[in-house]
């Protein structure tokens, strides 16, 4: 499955890109989190959440391959 991942704020600073495509057999958000922490060790010290189809999702949620975003803490207002 090909996953399209968007990065924001301090996380995009770490990855060096706003989005990337990842080819992977991962099933759940937890799997994705593991892949991200392996690829970007600096994510370990960061507080981040994952959104799928523009909704925050829990670690046990199944990935559907649609729009995935990795979000640092919110700072609106």
């Amino acid at each position: 499955m090909q996953i399209d991942i968007k990065y924001f704020g301090m996380l995009a600073e770490i990855t060096g890109c706003d989005s990337e495509k990842v080819e992977s057999e991962i099933q759940t958000v937890a799997d994705l989190q593991k892949v991200l922490l392996d690829k970007y060790p600096d994510f370990k010290n960061k507080d981040f959440r994952i959104a799928q189809n523009q909704e925050l999702v829990a670690l046990e949620t199944k990935l559907t391959g649609q729009e995935i975003a990795v979000l640092p803490p919110f700072a609106g207002g």
Binding site: F8, G9, F74
Partner: protein, 146 residues
């Protein structure tokens, strides 16, 4: 794919003229008795002796506009409001400038107080908006809502 939600984002600071114009537009709505307006202004916070001189805002815009839409719907459900407007800056907003403008109106004042606080807290908690605090020496740190 996704619905075309109203875009709440504005490039740069929100001007006092824009706010005035928004207020003036409500003069024709003569069932309104009370307006309540929240304005977020960028503070010159000091960190290790360096002062913030601007915040550069970015957002996951599609998700944020959907969240702002959800917040609007939930607020209209909970409170008796005549109208509501939300604007948030993107890009650079200097200290002393306005980055958030929330405007609620109702026939009655009790409603606007509760509604405005509800909306502002929901925006802070749920809107995927990110802020890079830029210091005088061009260094930066990422803002986190408290």
């Amino acid at each position: 794919m996704s619905e075309p939600y109203k875009n709440v984002f504005k490039e740069g600071a929100i001007s006092s003229d824009f706010i005035a114009n928004s207020i003036a537009k409500h003069q024709s709505k003569t069932d309104i008795g009370a307006h309540n307006i929240f304005l977020g202004q960028v503070r010159a916070d000091k960190v290790d002796g360096k002062a913030v001189c601007a915040i550069e805002y970015s957002a996951y815009e599609e998700m944020a506009n959907k969240k702002f839409h959800d917040i609007r719907e939930a607020t209209f459900d909970k409170f008796n409001l005549t109208c509501m407007h939300i604007y948030h800056s993107l890009g650079e907003v200097k200290t002393g400038e306005i980055c958030l403008f929330v405007f609620v109106s109702s026939p009655r004042r009790k409603e606007v107080f509760k509604a405005l606080e509800y909306v502002v807290e929901a925006i802070k908690a749920d809107a995927p908006v990110f802020g890079k605090e830029i210091f005088e020496d061009a260094s930066h740190q990422w803002k986190v809502n408290s």
